[in-house]
């Protein structure tokens, strides 16, 4: 996308997204705009200089000069970072959503390659001991205790974790997006399959997981003590999102998507030493529906190619 001309009046460049056009074409009434949100994807707040020696008029000079890209029509690419409404103007801290990879040993840790590695079939699963190799099972979920966990809260030592997170900053609903061709979301204990809210034109499945309604996925963080061994938020804590990824049938019984979208020459350490695997890298995107904070979780699906 090109930059927008910013030499004159402020203009708005508006487009329908691909999903918007798809819904419009369906003609089933699903194209109905009911709400809006504001975004600031192009803004680097690191350029905001609250200590500029020339005064407050210069604090955001560099920010305001940032060029803005034309609108993306891909619904998944637009408005990744959103503005938030909070009635209290005196906040100095905002909660974040972070991967917790230190809970219960390495039960929620990423693989050494920096991704959550998911074995897509039983043959591949048998090449790994989950605890030792940090590989998640994508077919027989209940054979592995590993899962993905995200913690929400204030990551600061300015407040004790024993203090309650202000109610208006507690995340009560998470939006999880995963490519539906690759996998789907299950509860951390493998007992419940999450319900898909919708699948867009790019095969991205969206799940809404709420506190109260989806207790196997979203729960209060009951640990209120400072505990750097199991907690990633040093300050007041909100909710936890935890889930597993079940590989799709397509990945389970075929290598087509691996060869189209991934590769076939990944060497991974397993119980036999090392083997070669098909691999496919993607992201699972998690966003707080209330606070807007977003975390992208790197996921790699693997399938045994040769010992």
């Amino acid at each position: 996308m090109a930059f927008l001309d910013n030499s004159g009046d402020i203009i708005l460049d508006a487009v329908l997204t691909d999903t918007g056009r798809m819904r419009l074409a369906k003609g089933d009434g699903s194209f109905k705009i009911t709400q809006f949100a504001l975004g600031d994807d192009e803004i680097d707040y690191g350029l905001y200089d609250a200590n500029h020696t020339s005064g407050s008029a210069y604090y955001d000079l560099q920010v305001l000069q940032l060029p803005v890209l034309e609108a993306f029509t891909d619904n998944a690419a637009g408005l990744k970072s959103k503005l938030i409404t909070v009635s209290n103007n005196n906040l100095l801290y905002l909660p974040v959503i972070q991967l917790n990879e230190i809970w219960n040993g390495n039960q929620t840790a990423r693989h050494g390659d920096g991704v959550f590695m998911v074995a897509v079939d039983e043959t591949t699963e048998k090449k790994f001991l989950p605890g030792d190799h940090l590989v998640d099972y994508g077919e027989n979920l209940n054979q592995s205790a590993r899962y993905i966990r995200l913690d929400q809260g204030l990551d600061t030592t300015a407040f004790s974790p024993q203090m309650a997170l202000p109610a208006d900053l507690e995340e009560t609903q998470y939006i999880v997006e995963i490519d539906n061709r690759f996998g789907e979301i299950y509860s951390w204990d493998s007992h419940e399959r999450a319900s898909i809210s919708f699948i867009d034109d790019d095969n991205i499945a969206t799940y809404y997981l709420s506190l109260g309604a989806n207790n196997r996925f979203v729960m209060e963080n009951e640990v209120k003590l400072a505990d750097s061994a199991t907690q990633v938020c040093d300050g007041p804590r909100g909710t936890i999102l935890q889930f597993k990824i079940k590989s799709s049938l397509e990945l389970n019984d075929s290598t087509q998507l691996f060869t189209e979208l991934g590769g076939d020459n990944l060497t991974v350490t397993d119980i036999g030493g090392t083997s070669t695997y098909y691999f496919l890298d993607t992201f699972v995107k998690v966003q707080g529906a209330t606070t807007g904070y977003r975390a992208d979780i790197p996921v790699r699906f693997i399938k045994l190619k040769s010992d």
């Binding site: 927008l4 009046d9 708005l12 329908l16 192009e42 890209l69 938030i84 905002l94 529906a289 209330t290």
Partner: protein, 372 residues
């Protein structure tokens, strides 16, 4: 409670309808000169696409084999089965009648008995002069968009008697317009509204017989089709509008006296189309695009959207723009507006041309217009 999405209420969305007009000049040189002239046989110009069926030919603004070429109009001709020109021995007689009937059934419709109506000169279908020998200019939708703007159509035709492939056929010019179209159009066509085309003298001596203005055709605004009477090429003796002193036009370089549109009987549709095209000096009109818009007023109150979930907004969990002082006002910068469905699927995106500052001292209304 912190929120990211704000619902529109009933007064935040307004639907409007706007008509946009563009001036479309089709200079005659593109149609008859640029790719033709004395060195090229009429009809073999590279911007003219002909078809094996021979029912019409297409005119492009550039050699049509190029991907840069745009289709600008088709041209064809025909006569009704009751026309004086109709005759079983004519070249392509059946096709000429078929072309006329097809256009007539689409544009003029059927009478109470299910018979195809003939084109009528004055819009009064019950009586009056019928247009039985006509040629058609079918403009592409690329040019006309939703419709031709009423009262803007103009066609200049060269009506010199002698044939040539240079501009000498255009020293005598008639000007054909829908002069009264803006307030005097008809709605008794199944193809939408149409106006009467009138011919007046444009360049040269007294070209038109007896008086200055003749109805010579119909312009169908929504269909984007001009139906023109063959009379524009005929002199008074041959039933046309041209002064006898000027004489009928030779549409092709045939030997003998020019006989105007009567030459059509012995030639193909395609050859006649070439002859007509060779005399097009200028075509222009305004098109119309009907824009239906939904304007979404995104109202941002003073206490809304002052914080950001942008990863660069925080260091750890601390807000950078506060400068370590919680009493400093929060500030954010808007670059995008997302319009969402009830299930929070992003349906439309609007981008600001530059970041827009937002803090608790200001309220904004961002007006996002979506055109359909």
């Amino acid at each position: 409670m912190a929120t990211v999405y704000k619902n529109f209420n009933g007064s935040d969305v307004v639907n409007t309808r706007t008509l946009l007009h563009e001036a479309i000049p089709v200079t005659g040189s593109i149609v008859s000169g640029t790719y033709g002239g004395n060195g090229v046989v009429l009809g073999s110009e590279p911007h003219i696409k002909k078809y094996a069926h021979g029912m019409f030919e297409s005119v492009f603004d550039y050699p049509f084999l190029s991907s840069s070429a745009n289709h600008i109009f088709d041209i064809t001709a025909g006569y009704s089965s009751v026309s004086e020109l109709s005759g079983a021995t004519n070249t392509q007689n059946a096709k000429k009648i078929a072309v006329y009937n097809q256009m007539a059934q689409v544009l003029a419709g059927y009478d109470h008995a299910g018979n195809i109506r003939r084109f009528d000169e004055d819009g009064n279908l019950a009586s009056g002069t019928k247009l039985d020998e006509v040629f058609f200019i079918n403009f592409s939708r690329l040019l006309t968009k939703d419709e031709i703007k009423k009262g803007t159509f103009q066609l200049d035709l060269g009506v010199d008697a002698a044939f040539s492939q240079n501009t000498t056929v255009m020293t005598e010019v008639i000007n054909i317009t829908d002069a009264s179209g803006s307030n005097g159009y008809y709605v008794n066509s199944p193809a939408g509204e149409y106006g009467i085309l009138y011919a007046t003298n444009s360049a040269g001596p007294d070209i038109l017989k007896s008086h200055n203005s003749f109805p010579v055709g119909l312009i169908y605004y929504q269909a984007g089709i001009a139906v023109l009477s063959a009379s524009v090429f005929n002199d008074n003796v041959q039933g046309g509008i041209i002064n006898d002193d000027s004489g009928s036009c030779a549409l092709y370089g045939l030997e003998g006296l020019p006989v105007g549109f009567q030459e059509f009987t012995g030639s193909t549709i395609s050859a006649t189309a070439d002859g007509i095209r060779n005399r097009v000096k200028n075509i222009q009109f305004d098109n119309t695009t009907e824009l239906n818009s939904a304007i979404h007023f995104c109202r941002v109150n003073h206490n809304e959207y002052n914080y950001s979930a942008n990863p660069t907004y925080l260091t750890g969990s601390k807000i950078k723009v506060k400068g370590n002082n919680r009493k400093n006002l929060p500030v954010s910068y808007i670059t995008s507006v997302g319009l969402y469905s009830a299930d929070r699927e992003l349906l439309a995106v609007a981008k600001l041309s530059e970041p827009l500052k937002k803090d608790p001292t200001m309220e904004l209304t961002l007006k996002v217009r979506l055109d359909y």
